[in-house]
Amino acid sequence: MNTSKYVGLGVVALFIVGAVYIVVQGRPVVSLREEMEEASEQGSDDVGTDAVPQQSEGLQAQTTTVSKEVIPTTQPAPKDTTSITTQPAPTAQPASSTQPTEPVSAGPLTFSLSDVVVHDTAADCWSAINGSVYDLTSFVSRHPGGSSAIKSLCGIDGSSKFNKQHSRSKAAQSSLALLKIGVLK
């Protein structure tokens, strides 16, 4: 086997190692939930890099501890969620899932409309559409119909506006599904 094949196989091996690292880095949140439960049983937060205890009236405190091996989201934890799972995502943006219905996790993140309202700028744009919550920040400048249409959805329930324009568009609905971050409580 000549040198070129050795080099080629070396690059292939490097690709496999890198691909495994990428997959492991974004491993399913099920294992992360197990880590969180284990940490809460032990009464320590040594698993997490970000611990944001959330308390509100009538709701139990929720911790959003994140494993050091999983990159946490930069968005602040919602104030009155009942179930929280962190999605494996880079720090630049909150997690965006390709699934049209559910992310790869034990359960979707739940948000209330009051959580969505605080994200009402083009630089931090959430919208509730048809019972789900979407992070439209990365899409503001990429919307084919212009950024103003997306900006008008920031921080509100945009179901009526979206359905009026895109109820029959599979392309729009598929694109929207990629930006889903949770469900509306």
Binding site: S4, V7, Q93, S96
Partner: protein, 118 residues
């Protein structure tokens, strides 16, 4: 096409894919919106797909830069660009189709000597 021109085009192709691949690795969330619709039904997060795609592009560019398996790599990259062109459509699609044709031209031209000695 002279061997010098072939080499210039080859390394330009390499830089193109290295740049785009690294961008996808660094900030995958910005590229999720460009994923095709059918990937929405995969049980794999979009950002993971983008990072895997970016890593693949970087590795293929590395192979092309080293001159290893040039024709298969060029064929693969050209097909990849054609797929992007078909998915994106519009001006972006036209541009990517033109880049894919450059890959095809490289594929059909005589290969220059690769840097790594046998």
């Amino acid at each position: 096409m002279s061997l010098s021109a072939t080499r210039v085009l080859r390394y330009t192709f390499v830089l193109l894919f290295v740049w785009f691949g690294v961008q996808q690795l660094i900030d995958p969330s910005a590229w999720v919106v460009y994923l095709p619709e059918f990937l929405g039904y995969f049980p794999i997060p979009g950002e993971m797909l983008v990072q895997l795609n970016g890593w693949s592009e970087v590795m293929l560019a590395l192979l092309l830069g080293l001159g290893v398996w040039q024709r298969p790599v060029l064929a693969l990259l050209s097909v990849h660009l054609f797929g992007i062109a078909l998915t994106a459509g519009g001006a972006v699609g036209v541009r990517d189709a033109a880049l894919a044709m450059i890959g095809v031209a490289l594929l059909l031209s005589p290969l220059d000597q690769w840097p790594v000695k046998k």
